[in-house]
Structures are given as structure tokens and as C-alpha cells.
Amino acid sequence: MSRQRSAKALMARHQYIFFIAPAIFLVLGFTAYPALYGVTISFTNMHFAYPDFRFVGLENYWRFISWSDLPKVGFNTVFFVACVVALQLSLGLLIALLLNKALFGRRLMRSVAILPWIIPAIIIALMFQQLFNGSRLGIMNALLANFGFDTRSWLSNPNEAMAVMILAVVWRGVPLSIILQLGGLQTIARELYEAAAIDGATRWQTLRFITLPNLKPILLINLIMITSGTLNHIDIPLALTGGGPGNSTEVLALSLFKQGFQSLDAAYASTIATIILILNLLLTIAYLRVLRRKDEKDD
């Protein structure tokens, strides 16, 4: 007898298509397609002020390399990302360790620590603008004055503006770090700690030899996520400083926005977008590597 397959059975077996197709089409159409389309725009001279555009090869990339603002923006970006990553990761780890202790009121503490994560970026920008208002009306200046320090101009001073921007981004970003690392801490088997206690490990040794090594994959994933998240972040820089004063807080992602929607140079913005996309791609590959290694270890 030959293998028989009825139409009905085929239907049942392939019904999943109806379940997943809408999602796949939407996601491809509004994430993959624009990303690829953006890359093609970077090879043209598309400009929002002019209807026509044509293929120009690598011209935009040459422009990017010889761009006079590039050293400044590049430095800002690296500095900004490095500071945010370092602060967010370490503070996240410390607070996660704190919240992982069997302390009374731990749940409440966790809710409080996570709170900044749910505040919209625009609100954070407005809030930090007011906290760090350069006049004597700003609450930070008032506090400084109260304790006998000099007041500062904050957002109108290049270095201080950068510091405030980093602070705002970290303030909002630490909670995600906490959530991820707390999740990681909670997957470490209690038996490991008990075994270490029986072996006579001190608290420091336990942290050093049990907690951190076991947390390493999560820390790595977190590192990669924060790096790409910060690299791609536009909201707070745009709303808080707008890159100013001058271009002292302008980071690459913000340049993209300014080029595209203030200078209306769509092609040049897409060039920057493509470069950011490539950086993200590298980070994603690293991310998948870590995940795969983690999976292998779990098995």
C-alpha cells in the first residue's frame, strides 16, 4: 500500500501557517524590510527636500569618513557608551546582590529599585532638565548651595551636560540590569551555596567563586544588551540636551536623527544608520555566541 495523505490531514499538519503567518509578515515588513531598505538608501542621494534621487555608490560613506564632526561625535559616543555600560552593569550587579539577600521587605525594595525603568524617556528628560537647571532655581544647585558648594551651570556646560546625560540614561537603565541579574542570581542552585558553606567559604569567597562565575553568561548578555541599547539610544539625548551645548553631547544616533530630520539629508542619515546597524550586527553575533555557549553548558 502506498503512503496516503489526505487533503484534510495535510491541512491539520500545516495549520500552523495560519497561526504564524500574520506575525511573520508584519515583523518582516516593518523591521527587516526597512533595515534593508535603509541600507539601499545609503547608496543614493535621497534628500527629503527633493523628490528625485539616484544611485551614488559609496559617496555617502566617503563623506562620513571625512566628516568634520566625526572625531567629536565618535569620541562622545564611545565615552557615553563606555560610561553608561560600566555604571549600569556594576550598579545593576550590586543592587541585584543586595536584593537577592533574604532581607525583610525585599519585594518592596525590588519594586522601588525597578521604578525608573517604567518612566518614559521624555519624562526623564524633562525631569533631569529641571533637577539640573543651571539657574539657582534648580534643585541640585539649591542642594549644592545649601551644603556650601558652588552652583553649576549643568546643561549649558559641555562636560557637565555630558555627565547629566549619562546620569539620566543610567538612572533609567539600571533597573533592567537589576532584573536580568536578579533572574540570573535566582537560577544559581541553592545547593552550590550550601556546599560552599560546608567547605567553609567566607562570604567574599562565595561571591568570588560561586556567584560571579555562575552569573558570567548573564553579565555578558547584559553587557551586550546595554552596549547596543546605549549605542542606539536617541530619546534622552534628543530631549535632554539635543546634542548641545554646541555638539558637546552629540552621539552617533543623535547625528542620525539630526541629519535625517533637521538637515533632511535622508541618504546621509541612512549611512549613519547602516554603520550603527553593522555595529549592532556585531553585537548580536556576540550575543548569540554567548547564548549558544550558555545552552551548551545548561545541557
Binding site: A12, R13, H14, Q15, Y16, F19, I20, P22, A23, I24, L26, V27, G29, F30, T31, P34, A35, Y37, G38, L98, K101, L103, M109, V112, L115, P116, I118, P120, I122, I123, L126, M127, F128, Q130, L131, N133, I139, A142, N146, L155, W171, I179, L180, G183, R203, I221, S228, N232, I234, D235, L238, T241, A253, F257, G260, F261, S270, I276, N280, L288
Partner: protein, 294 residues
């Protein structure tokens, strides 16, 4: 030794676990937490309290923390004199539709991924995860171009489309993780009882997935409510502007003019999220970590 003495000894031994070292450590932990709580809560409380201050007090020197007298005038002014109510309404519309579409399409797909075996399944799932990582910054220029093709610039539909598409991947991941924990024999029992596949999903699986659903729902809600860059670019006209765009346009950069509005407006714009957070909190951490594991 008498029983009493015996129990005193054991009690003592138990108490002795509270060594000085431990007490100091606990005290330091609470102290550290107090610092964290201050850093988190101080700015938020300051904004909240500021929203109840008289405008004159807001602009007075030295600045105060606790309002001299509580007043609702800032809220009244924001509601009567600014477009914030309209922005909030727009935000609500966009968020609500996004939420419904994302959860509907995302959970249905998650069910498909959870219950069928098919070629390239794992590849598709990982691809979704990777596509999720494409930031809106990278896609913002193409979004603008695409929306102008589709005639959806300055519409809510355009926003809803983009939001839905970008939030579906994590919804799929969270919900699939959740569905995978429900035994397939439940589906089979329901099929034998006479359910269609969709009915199984709707009547059996979905009602059992409320924790996952609230986690995914909250994340979508949070993202859609707060989204800034995309609406700023593709829907920034006064009529359709959402909260973030409205606030940005109104307060701009370094505009000191309307401080007294800013506090109240910030509170009004954030309150819905905080309320949703309180509801979803219970499921949030578990839902998030299950989603982030892979």
C-alpha cells in the same frame, strides 16, 4: 539538665546565628538600600510634590521640596490651557490598539510555534529575536519613507502598525515560553472534546496564560505609551501627536517658561504606567526572565 535548661541552650544556639557580623551586614544592606531608594525616589517625589505647588512657589528662591500649600491649579491649568488631554487621548488610542493587535497576533503565533513542529522553526524564532534587536533609530528614515508611500504620515494607523510589528517578537518569545509549560495533552483532550485548533487556543490555552499575558501586555503597554522617536518623526502634527511628542514640542529644550505645567503634565503622563505596573508587577519579573532566558 532539665528540659527548660535544654531548650534555653537550643534557643541560645539558634540566636547565636545572629552574630555581630551579621547584624552589621544587615544594617549596611539596609543603609545601601536607603541610598538606592533615595536616588530613585527623590527626583520622582520632587516632581510629584512640585505638581502641587503654586506657580509662584515653583519660581521662588530658595526652591522648596515640600509644597507650602497644596493646590490643584497646575492640573487644572494643564487640562484647560494645554493640549495635553488631547495628547493623552491620542496616546491611549494608539496604545490600546497596539496592545490588542500585538497580543492577538503575537500570542496566536506563539501558539503556532509552541504546538507544531515544522522545518526551520528554530531558525525563524532566532531570526525574530534578532529582528527585535534592530533599533528604531536604524529604521527611522525608512519608516518615514514607507509611511509616506502608504499615506500614513501623521496618522495613528501608521504608529499602530510599526508598534505592533516591533513588539510582536518579544510577545512571541514570552508567550511561547509560557505555552511550552502547558502540557499538550490539554490541547488533545480539547480536540477530542470537539474543539478546533483555534478554539483550543482561545478557550483552553489562553485563559491559562494570564501571567504571561500580563507580562507581555505590560511590556507592550509600556513601550507603546512611552515611544518617542517614531511618533516624533512620523506623527508630529498637533492633531495626532502622542504624549511624548506633545511634551517635547511644548517644553522643547531648555524652555524654562512653563515649569509649573511640566510637573503636573509629567505626573499625568506617567500615572497610567505606574498604575499598570502595580497590577502587572506580580507576574512581571517571572515573565521577563522567562523571556530573556533564550
Amino acid at each position: 539538665m532539665t528540659d527548660l535548661a535544654q531548650s534555653a541552650v537550643t534557643r541560645n544556639r539558634r540566636n547565636s546565628r545572629w552574630t555581630t557580623g551579621r547584624i552589621v551586614e544587615t544594617a549596611l544592606s539596609y543603609l545601601a538600600f536607603a541610598v538606592v531608594a533615595t536616588i530613585v525616589l527623590f527626583p520622582l517625589t520632587w516632581v510629584l510634590l512640585g505638581s502641587f505647588k503654586n506657580p509662584s512657589e515653583i519660581f521662588a528662591y530658595p526652591p522648596t521640596i515640600w509644597p507650602r500649600d497644596f493646590t490643584w491649579t497646575n492640573y487644572a491649568d494643564v487640562i484647560r490651557r494645554t493640549d495635553l488631554p488631547k495628547y493623552l487621548l491620542n496616546t491611549t488610542i494608539v496604545t490600546a490598539f497596539t496592545l490588542v493587535f500585538t497580543l492577538a497576533i503575537g500570542t496566536v503565533a506563539a501558539y503556532g510555534f509552541s504546538r507544531w513542529r515544522f522545518p526551520f522553526k528554530q531558525t525563524i524564532l532566532v531570526t525574530l529575536l534578532v529582528l527585535q534587536l534592530i533599533p528604531s533609530a536604524v529604521n527611522i528614515v525608512p519608516y518615514y519613507v514607507m509611511m509616506s508611500w502608504l499615506g500614513l504620515l501623521n496618522t495613528h494607523v501608521g504608529l499602530i502598525l510599526i508598534y505592533t510589528a516591533t513588539h510582536i517578537p518579544f510577545t512571541i518569545w514570552i508567550m511561547k515560553g509560557f505555552f511550552d509549560t502547558l502540557p499538550e495533552s490539554l490541547d488533545e483532550a480539547a480536540i477530542i472534546d470537539g474543539c478546533s485548533r483555534f478554539r483550543v487556543f482561545w478557550n483552553i490555552i489562553l485563559p491559562l496564560s494570564l501571567p504571561g499575558l500580563s507580562a507581555a501586555g505590560f511590556l507592550t503597554f509600556l513601550a507603546a505609551w512611552s515611544e518617542f522617536l517614531v511618533p516624533l518623526v512620523i506623527a508630529n502634527s498637533r492633531e495626532v501627536a502622542v504624549m511624548s511628542v506633545g511634551l517635547y514640542n511644548f517644553f522643547g529644550i531648555d524652555s524654562n517658561t512653563a515649569y509649573h505645567y511640566a510637573f503636573a503634565a509629567s505626573v499625568m503622563s506617567t500615572a497610567p504606567i505606574v498604575i499598570a505596573y502595580l497590577f502587572a508587577q506580580e507576574y512581571l519579573v517571572s515573565g521577563l526572565t522567562s523571556g530573556s532566558e533564550k
